[in-house]
Structures are given as structure tokens and as C-alpha cells.
């Protein structure tokens, strides 16, 4: 069978939710921001979050950074950078090599000026303000409920303000209050449906309040209810061209559309809520002014570049680590391997009853 029955998704049960009827018109590439500054910029970038004012916050791991420390870079869509934010868990900038927060992975915003980051080496969640203040950190190492063993992806639950945190090394998804009180959790290690293997990023579907987890080493995305019931798998049963390769993150927009950061394949895939593949993003970046300045400062490379027969590669994503969407249907892709963020924007029309003669609820044809 081909066509719609050759669905990329193993839909374990019908996805319920008041999803809007859409005419999806594609994504426009909007801009790219970042690239390297002289000493900092985006370097070792691992996750991206947005604040209420439209600023882009990128957390950079210390090890690859010329400045030698964990650092949060802040910029706007016009590629204007603000002063860096330095984690100061004890009120002072940390000493290189003796950091309390040496290995950040996840970074999330509550949309109200607070940010939360995970550190997989020290098993803590750190709280920051958008002004750069480190409010504190909490977390206990271990494999029991409420404990961390390499926390990675983090997402603020928009319904109650609590935090969903992915636990990489014991494959658990846990919910905490912002002060670190354990609320609930689920998940177990394995490759069977519903099990997880070194999960990484996490997304939240605002329409039906379900969780989507980047099941990294199983090369798939799994959707769960908040109590851990498996609803959907995207990945392993896909056609070959869309096999995921170590997906690192997943985001869901206000329509319920799913964006998968297919890190190992240097691309982002766009699916509808039912798990039907729509399009892929492989990168469309243009050089930023900052990048041009860097090149202009190296005239030998400027001259060299003039002899390149294929500059198309410069546009492309390399090892993207994270995706996030805003309320204007912008998609931000953290193009980690190229030190930048690529921004797309969805174009669409919302269809009204009568404009669309299809079924009013989503039903997987395979189930009928």
C-alpha cells in the first residue's frame, strides 16, 4: 500500500484534541542570527529558549567555548546581542574548571521572565531570571522518584507552571514544582513501545496537554499522557528517507504541529498532530552581519571564498540540537554546528466549518 496508509507514524491510539482545521501553506525562512563573535557568540550551543519580549536565549556549554565557561547568549531577531549571562550559583562567577554547573543541557522559559536549565553532570535544575540573575538550584542525584540521573530536556507546563524534566540515564520523565518538589513521574528503560533509551528533549502539546519526548537512542519521538500512557510513536516505522537518527528535541506549536530536531541527520522534520510527515528543513541560513564582519577581518579567507564552487552548503544545518516555537508560529532551530539560530515562520489559513469537507475528528485510516 502506498499513499496515506503508508503513514510515518505508528499511532497506538487516536490522538484526541480540538485541533484546528488548517490549510498549511509552508514555512518561510525569516532570518538567521548568531555566528561567532571574536571570542564568544554561540559556541557549544546546546539549547534555546525564548522570553516574552522576543529575545532568544541560547545556553552554551563551557568545554568548547573560547571563554571557557558556561554562558547564556542573548540576542533578538535583528541579530543584536545583549550582554552574556553567566551562571552564578553561589552569587559569583564560577572559576573555570571548578564549575558547579559544568554541563548544561536543557533550557526553558516560563514566558514570565524566568528560565530553568538542567545540568546533567551535577544533577540539578537551575533557575535564572531574564535579567541574568541566578536564583538558585536544586536537585538530588539518584534513580528514585524525584531524583536525577543526568537531567536533560526541560519544559515549563503552561497549564500549572510546573516543570517537566527528562532524566537521561534512567529514562524517566518527572514533574516538579519550580522549587523542586516532586509531583509525578513515569518511564522505564528499553526499546519496546512506551519505553525510553537515553531520552533528551521534551515538547508539550498545548491542545491536549500531552508530552512528546525525543527518545534519542531509540531514534523516535513518543507521545505520552501526563500519567505516562503511550499515545503515539513517530520514527522507527517511517519510510527510509525519514528515519530519525538520534533526535535531540521536539517542539509543538499552537496548532499541535510537531517539529522534530533530527540531529543525526542535520535536519528538522515537520509533522501534523496525527504523525503525518509534512516537510523537512535542512537549513536556509544567510550570513549574518556578524559573520560578514568575521570574514572581512580575515581577507585571506574572503579571497579564498571567492573560489568556492558550491556555497550552498553554507546554508545548511549541522548537528542542530534544539527547536522551539513562539506564539507567532516562528520556528527557531538551534544550528549548533554552525553557531547560529535559523528562524522560519509558518504560513497557513485556519479553515472554518464548511470550508473543509473532511472528517471533523482525526482518525487514522489504518484503524478503520
Amino acid at each position: 500500500m502506498t499513499g496515506i496508509l503508508d503513514t510515518p507514524s505508528t499511532l497506538t491510539k487516536e490522538i484526541e484534541g480540538d485541533y484546528p482545521m488548517l490549510l498549511r501553506m509552508g514555512h518561510r525562512f525569516e532570518t538567521s542570527v548568531g555566528q561567532r563573535l571574536l571570542v564568544d557568540g554561540l559556541y557549544g550551543a546546546i539549547d534555546v529558549a525564548l522570553d516574552r519580549d522576543g529575545l532568544i536565549y541560547v545556553i552554551n556549554k563551557h568545554v568548547g567555548s573560547p571563554s571557557g565557561r558556561v554562558r547564556i547568549a542573548v540576542c533578538d531577531l535583528d541579530d543584536q546581542f545583549k550582554p552574556d549571562i553567566w551562571p552564578m550559583p553561589d552569587g559569583e562567577r564560577e572559576i573555570m574548571g571548578e564549575e558547579k554547573l559544568p554541563s548544561p543541557v536543557g533550557f526553558a522559559s516560563d514566558g514570565n521572565g524566568n528560565f530553568y536549565g538542567t545540568d546533567e553532570h551535577t544533577n540539578v535544575v537551575v533557575r535564572y531570571t531574564s535579567d541574568g540573575e541566578t536564583l538558585g538550584y536544586w536537585g538530588e542525584s539518584g534513580d528514585g522518584p524525584g531524583q536525577f540521573n543526568a537531567p536533560s530536556g526541560i519544559h515549563v507546563d503552561p497549564t500549572d507552571g510546573n516543570l517537566w524534566v527528562v532524566n537521561t540515564r534512567n529514562s524517566r520523565i518527572q514533574k516538579f514544582t519550580i522549587d523542586g518538589a516532586y509531583v509525578s513521574g513515569f518511564g522505564e528503560v528499553g526499546s519496546a513501545p512506551g519505553q525510553l533509551d537515553h531520552p533528551w528533549g521534551i515538547g508539550f502539546d498545548p491542545i491536549n496537554e500531552t508530552l512528546l519526548v525525543a527518545d534519542w537512542r531509540n531514534d523516535r519521538i513518543q507521545r505520552f499522557t501526563q500519567s505516562g500512557e503511550l499515545l503515539q510513536i513517530i520514527g522507527p516505522n517511517d519510510v527510509e528517507e525519514r528515519h530519525l537518527n538520534r533526535p535531540s528535541d521536539v517542539a509543538v506549536d499552537a496548532h499541535g504541529d510537531i517539529y522534530i530536531c533530527d540531529r543525526g541527520n542535520d535536519r528538522v522534520l515537520h509533522y501534523n498532530p496525527r504523525g503525518l510527515f509534512l516537510e523537512q528543513f535542512v537549513g536556509d541560513a544567510v550570513m549574518t552581519e556578524r559573520g560578514a564582519d568575521k570574514l572581512m577581518a580575515n581577507p585571506d579567507m574572503l579571497q579564498w571564498r571567492d573560489h568556492i564552487v558550491d556555497l550552498d552548503r553554507e546554508k545548511r544545518l549541522m548537528k542542530p540540537s534544539a527547536v522551539v516555537v513562539d506564539d507567532q508560529f516562528r520556528l527557531y532551530v538551534l544550528d549548533s554546528g554552525r553557531y547560529r539560530v535559523q528562524v522560519y515562520r509558518k504560513t497557513f489559513r485556519e479553515l472554518q466549518p464548511g470550508q473543509y469537507d473532511g472528517p471533523e475528528t482525526y482518525t487514522d485510516p489504518k484503524l478503520n
Binding site: 537515553h198 538520534r246 570574514l295 553554507e314 549548533s336
Partner: protein, 460 residues
């Protein structure tokens, strides 16, 4: 020639130091039970074992994800030397890397260096003709030896000359006319211009053949005449007697001894030709030879062998979640071997040239520091094994048992006297409890450190 039992722990330990980077005493005992011949076949047939899965390493160490980080492939390589279930693959790769030197000092492109390393790994134990051909196709090598500037109307002899002098036959076996013909045959073998580093970081590039830039005219090379291309030249090279001597000599010096033995080299060269240039057959012949089995501790360890060998004893860096690979890479550099960046086209000078006063201090400090770390699982395991069934040990027994754990060094009398004198205040050393006995642990660690600081420990 003494007959060695196939289950001889010392012999198997010797094999693992040469064909790999060493093994703990407990692991060596396990391998000895399998038997020497079976261990050899396991080492040679390494395709039966999977290569390490390094996705988590790359994920956890973000500098590894960033290919612009110039050390990324070196650190990953060290991790693989420590953890690979194919130790001979890494050891052969290290040998060819030193022989077919390319380095980031000139290539200045991490992805290209990474591809080059992978090429060496893929071909390290295959057919020598294939290895030479892949070498000529390697973008890193092309850049390293300016092959992209070798044009039909403006010949650059750099690659052609080194192919003959450093990569296959050695000086004295060809003429300047042969060098010229060789270089002409490789005209048109080049690479696409790669995108410069700024502002996006490095991009790799590919080999391309430009027929319009190839010299198709008749050439005379090593006495043969034809309109040779690069592959024809390699065909002629690999069947030349000097190439057999070159391959055999390199393998002998790398795996057997710093002191050449012409009879042994001739034997290995004969296997090279009889097998149709198959390196695996040469290595099998080597491992089963008496001159190999009797060559224990006859080679000075390279810095990479020293560092990785110590870490395999301490049991560190077996997990992707462990920080500190950068310190291992820095250690090899401090000892005179910066991986993926050899000092010249000749690679590194080996043997006793690895040892000078500064490098020796680095080696001793590194091994003493690491073997003095009781938090390292391998160190704790060694100390737990030392008592055996005994409640106390004499100083000589402790020295012998520590020496056994480090691989049965050929301890000279002078070294032993120094160790014995250090322990002269002790008669019977209570050892019950192993590493949970702090007094015993302190003495045992001191002995391990002193052994690792010995002259004998610098050999493999």
C-alpha cells in the same frame, strides 16, 4: 628458542601490549585461559567485534559535537583506544598515522583530519595496495603534500616524492626520473576547494579527478613504460622488493623491537609478497613468530601507548559520562606526541627519542598520579587482588604482586633494590581487607607508583 605455553599469562600480556594498549592482569588471565593462538585470531579478526558506539560520547561532550574544536578527533581517538573491542585496529591505525603523517598544523581542517583517520582505520589491516590508493585519494593527504597544486603543465613533485620515499620504498630505490614520472601520473588527482573556516566553521571536502589536468603521456617508472596514471604507479610500487622490505621493517619496528633484525624482516617481507600484499597475513605471521614472542619489553612506549596503557590499568574513562579526556590528550602532547599533528612529514622519531628529561618527567608524573588515585576503579581492583589468601605480605611478595598487576615488568636488580630499600622498615605487611585497609593501601600505592616510575615501565 624457549617454548612458551599458550596459556602463559606473561606471553598473552606481551601480545596485548603490542597488539593493543595492554590489559589489566585479571583481563590478561582471562585471555590466557582462551589460549594465545585464539587470542591472536580474535585480534586479527576484529571485524567480528563491533566498533564502539560513540553517540553518547559526542552528545555528552559538546566540544566533541563541535567539529571546529581542533582536539575533537584526538580526544575521541583516545577514548576509542581505551574502549575499543578492536585494539589491533587502533594500534595499526596509530602506526599508519605515524608513517603516513598528516597533521592539522597544515591541513587545518578537523573534518578532513577526521575523514583521514577513518580512512586509515578502514584500511589498516587490509591490502597494502588499497591502503596506498586510499592514501592518495585522501583530501587531508592531498592538502598536506600540496597535491592540489600538481598540474599537468606545472608538476609539483611533493606527493610523488613522499609516496616513494616515506610511504612505500625508501630512499635509494628509485631515481629522480622515477619521482618525476610518479608525480606526473598523479596530476589531476585533487580536491574541491573547501569553504573557508570563517564564519561557519570547517567544512570537509572531496577528492576529485580532473582529467583535463592529467598528464596522459607515456612515462617510464621503475623500468616500466606506459601512459601510467596513479593507480598504475601504485601497482608497480606494491610489487617492488623494496616495498616489501619497507612494510616489513615498519611493522617489525612498531610491533617487535626498536632494534632491527634483518632475518625477521626478510621473513615478514616474504609473507607480504606471498599473500599478495595482505597486511593481515603479515601480522598473523608476526604474532606467531618466536622473534615476536621473545621480544617482551623491547620497545619504548610511545606517549599514546603510555597514556592509554596506564588508563586501561586504572580503569578510567570507560564511561562516556566521565570528564577529562582533554587531560589525556594534553598528556600525550606534553610527552611529545600530539595526535593528528605529527611534527613533520616523517612523523615522530620513536624508540629512545621518545625519552628526554622533560618527557620522562611527564611520563612518570602521569603514571604515578593516575596509579595513586584510589578512586580509580582499576587501582582499587589491583589493591584488592594483591593480598590473595594472605593476611600479610613480605616486602618482596608485595613488590612481586604489584609487578604482576602492572604486567610483569622485566625488573632489573637495581630497580628492585630501590624498591626493597623503600620498604626496608616493613617486614610483614598486613594486607587483609585490600583497598579497605588504609595502611596497606598506602604502601601498595607507593609500590605501584614507584614501579610505574621505573625505567622498565617505559617499555612495552
Amino acid at each position: 628458542m624457549a617454548t612458551r605455553a599458550a596459556t602463559d599469562v606473561g606471553l598473552v600480556g606481551h601480545l596485548m601490549r603490542r597488539a593493543g594498549f595492554g590489559a589489566s592482569a585479571s583481563e590478561t588471565e582471562r585471555l590466557a585461559e582462551i589460549g594465545y593462538d585464539n587470542v591472536v585470531e580474535g585480534l586479527l579478526g576484529f571485524e567480528q567485534q563491533p566498533r564502539p558506539v560513540e553517540d553518547l560520547l559526542e552528545r555528552y561532550h559538546q566540544d566533541h559535537a563541535d567539529e571546529e574544536s581542533v582536539k575533537w578527533f584526538s580526544k575521541r581517538w583516545i577514548y576509542r583506544m581505551i574502549n575499543s573491542e578492536r585494539p589491533l585496529e587502533e594500534k595499526m591505525t596509530l602506526m599508519w598515522h605515524a608513517r603516513f603523517a598528516t597533521g592539522r598544523s597544515k591541513v587545518n581542517n578537523s573534518p578532513m583530519m577526521g575523514d583521514h583517520l577513518e580512512m586509515l582505520r578502514d584500511n589498516c589491516l587490509g591490502n597494502f595496495r588499497t591502503l596506498l590508493l586510499e592514501l592518495a585519494l585522501s583530501p587531508a593527504m592531498i592538502w598536506w603534500l600540496d597535491q592540489q597544486t600538481n598540474h599537468s603543465d606545472a608538476v609539483n613533485e611533493n606527493f610523488g616524492r613522499e609516496l616513494l620515499e616515506l610511504f612505500s620504498m625508501g630512499r635509494g630505490n628509485y631515481t629522480e626520473e622515477d619521482v618525476r614520472a610518479c608525480a606526473r601520473a598523479f596530476t589531476g588527482w585533487t580536491i574541491d576547494q573547501t569553504i573557508p573556516r570563517y564564519p561557519n566553521g570547517w567544512y570537509d571536502t572531496n577528492y576529485v579527478y580532473r582529467s583535463h589536468d592529467h598528464d596522459p603521456d607515456v612515462k617510464t617508472f621503475l623500468g616500466e613504460t606506459g601512459s601510467f596514471g596513479g593507480e598504475d604507479i601504485i601497482d608497480i610500487i606494491v610489487r617492488h622488493p623494496a616495498t616489501g622490505q619497507f612494510v616489513a621493517s615498519n611493522i617489525y619496528r612498531y610491533f617487535v623491537s626498536d632494534t632491527p633484525n634483518q632475518e625477521a624482516i626478510d621473513y615478514l617481507a616474504s609473507v607480504y609478497f606471498e599473500s599478495g600484499h595482505e597486511l593481515r597475513d603479515v601480522m598473523r605471521a608476526l604474532f606467531h613468530s618466536d622473534f615476536f614472542k621473545d621480544a617482551g619489553y623491547a620497545r619504548v612506549k610511545s606517549p599514546a601507548e603510555h597514556v592509554v596503557g596506564v588508563i586501561k590499568l586504572t580503569g578510567e574513562h570507560t564511561s562516556e559520562y566521565e570528564f577529562g579526556l582533554a587531560s589525556l590528550e594534553a598528556a600525550t602532547l606534553a610527552m611529545g606526541q600530539e595526535l593528528l599533528n605529527p611534527p613533520t612529514v616523517e612523523g615522530w622519531h620513536t624508540g629512545f627519542e621518545w625519552i628526554d628529561s622533560a618527557f620522562l618527567i611527564e611520563r612518570v608524573n602521569f603514571s604515578a598520579d593516575r596509579l595513586g588515585n584510589l578512586d580509580a576503579p582499576g587501582v582499587r581492583s589491583i589493591i584488592d587482588r594483591l593480598p590473595g589468601a594472605d593476611l600479610s605480605l613480605t616486602p618482596d611478595e608485595l613488590i612481586d604482586r604489584c609487578n604482576y598487576e602492572l604486567g610483569q615488568l622485566n625488573l632489573e636488580d637495581r630497580s628492585r633494590r630501590v624498591l626493597t630499600k623503600e620498604l626496608e622498615l616493613h617486614h610483614d605487611i598486613p594486607c587483609a581487607g585490600g583497598s579497605s585497609n588504609p595502611d596497606f593501601t598506602e604502601i601498595a600505592i607507593e609500590v605501584l607508583q614507584m614501579l610505574s616510575a621505573s625505567k622498565e615501565f617505559q617499555f612495552a
